[in-house]
Amino acid sequence: MGSLAGKNKLRVLRQWRDLPQVAAVVVMFAFFWIITEANGTTPFSGANVANSLNYFGEYGLFALALGITMILGEFDISTLGTFALGGMIAIKLGGSNPWLGALIAIACCAAFGLAQGYIIAKFKMNSMTVTVGGYLITLGLCGAIGKNTQGSLLNANVPPFLQQNIATVFSPMSLFVFALFAIAGVTLRYTSMGRKFLAMGGARKSSRAIGLPVNRYVTLTFMLSAALASLSGVLYSYSTATSLVDPGLQPFLFVVTAVLVGGVGLSGGRGTPFGIACGAVTLSFLYGVFMTTAATPNISDTVYGCLLLVVAIWSAPSLKEWLGSFTAHPIFRRDQETKVAA
């Protein structure tokens, strides 16, 4: 009886879609622990985890922004621009009232996302090319608002507030981001809106055929992704007290890798906010490893680049076919024939 219950539990665990992502978090956490202890300068403590989770707080929502467009079968490169623009607007306007600065930043970027999403949905356009234009527009706006110089936050109370310690490993920023991931996860899993969203990502034509409002969902998703990316930019700027004129492709490397490690499929319809959160936490622990070992940019760039390459290859649609071409080789076939004969 007991063994039957145990087998059932094992089966449920195997069927859990996000199990590989959870395993990735555990493995990376263990690696982070071992490396920190082996490094010998300071013993592993809650502060190490808190620093890594603050990194998650800064970039996590950016990953969610990109992830939801990918689940819908689209790709929003302009999130990189709205990330920078959100941070810049918040820094410029949030000196006396950080809440107001954040609100205006998110509203402006959401309005941009809405317009961009409307054009993509209405004219059924390739989102990758349209959002490259969107990226340049928002990046240009960001530089123009910041007069081509890095901005700094006048209110000195904001960064310590966002990074203050809660329960040893958390901060208000990381908890807030975890809460938003939880809301996104519950919405996708337990509401009809979420299920329709997943259906549209997996089968766009069929969704249109059965009368689902695909255009409305695409438009709103781009609006939401712009709002989330800008909120991520606001959190980054408020926690570091600076805003970037041009973040380059570095944040994009982090979030794309996080989303793919998080199990989001490039063809749409596959992935969960929980998986994306796991992917982002995994990479935040990797960032912690780099911090502990004081890794130079060449090492972190190479490792992140390799990781992205591996997950991109892993999620490539023809990978199985290519691997299958090896097993179809006469050597393997003879082996199989021998097995069949036996």
Binding site: F123, M125, G133, I137, L139, L266, D301, T302, L309, A312
Partner: protein
């Protein structure tokens, strides 16, 4: 017997003319008009020296853009790591130039072909996402280059070696890079129009399924398009390194090239376009850049205007293609 009044006939011919004029043509005329008007109201813009400057700055951008055009024509969008490749291969050229300019150029071209060929294999054979692969490849190149150079951000030309300086000279008032661009356009167009592989690039970009049905090896064609892109970008890197003699930061090539390709009228979905059009697009990018510098606009404003232009071009072209289909 019906008599058509001259006014009615005129309005009828005007109507048929309006029907014939496509959205792309209207947009092109509009953009040209805006560029000319802004040129007129900019002091000393329409002078020979300004246009010489535009032509000279467009050379390297155009060669990178020609490389990207091969990718776009084959239906594989564009690369997001052109700037990194130009930087890394430019640094490598300055490190190797002591071997002599021609062996160094040859090695760099082979390196460019390998770097892009591998990316092409991942995209063509495994069906990996081109944007993600090019971003990853960019960071890998950057990481490896930083490691090899000992994280030295600036690579200077070796002192005392002058054998490669012909690459930075002007001939008839025009930089060597511009003459090289004309040569590459001619060779590239011959490759695209007169060879089987070139024509296959068009067909694969136009209709991948049809190309596959026709027995064309789509994977091989994709890899060839990427290799062509890599060779062009590598050559641009050698010209850039020879011209500046100090390679230390990424140029604006990635997005300049994308804007040039799409403004030139190459279809973003592949199969339609030409290298000559891309050169025209690169000239527009240089014109815009020069005009904005002369009007005192800062780089972010230039990026913003480029973004608006790109956004508009992509929307108009996709709408136009849909209308045709």
């Amino acid at each position: 017997m019906t008599v058509i009044s001259p006014v009615a006939a005129d309005s009828k011919s005007l109507g048929s003319l309006v029907k014939k004029v496509s959205l792309v043509q209207v947009a092109a005329v509009l953009v040209a008009a805006i560029l000319i008007i802004f040129g007129v109201i900019t002091n000393n813009f329409f002078t020979l020296s300004t246009f010489q400057g535009i032509l000279n700055t467009s050379g390297i951008i155009a060669i990178v853009s020609i490389g990207v055009t091969f990718m776009t024509l084959s239906g594989n969008l564009f690369t997001l790591s052109a700037s990194v490749t130009v930087l890394v291969l430019g640094q490598a050229f300055l490190e190797l130039v002591h071997l002599g300019p021609f062996p160094a150029i040859l090695i760099i071209l082979v390196m460019g072909a390998i770097i892009f060929g591998l990316q092409g294999w991942l995209v063509g054979r495994l069906g990996a996402n081109v944007i993600i692969i090019t971003v990853a490849a960019g960071f890998l190149q950057q990481g490896v280059a930083e490691y090899l150079s000992g994280s030295n951000p600036s690579i200077l030309a070796p002192a005392g070696i002058t054998s490669y300086l012909w690459m930075r000279n002007t001939y008839g008032g025009i930089l060597f890079s511009v003459w090289a661009m004309f040569g590459i356009v001619i060779l590239g167009e011959l490759f695209l129009r007169r060879t089987v592989a070139g024509r296959q690039i068009y067909l694969v970009g136009e209709n991948r399924a049809a190309a596959r049905t026709a027995g064309i090896n789509v994977k091989r064609v994709t890899i060839i398009a990427f290799i062509a892109a890599g060779i062009c970008i590598a050559f641009a890197a050698t010209l850039q390194a020879a011209y500046t003699q100090n390679v230390y930061s990424q140029g604006p090539y990635t997005f300049d090239a994308i804007v040039a390709v799409l403004i030139g009228g190459t279809s973003v979905l592949g199969g339609k376009g030409s290298l000559i059009r891309t050169v025209f697009g690169a000239l527009v990018v240089s014109y815009l850049s020069q005009m904005m510098i002369m009007r005192g606009y800062n780089p972010p404003t230039q990026i913003f205007v480029q973004g608006l232009l790109l956004f508009g071009v992509v929307v108009v072209m996709q709408l136009s293609e849909r209308g045709r289909n």
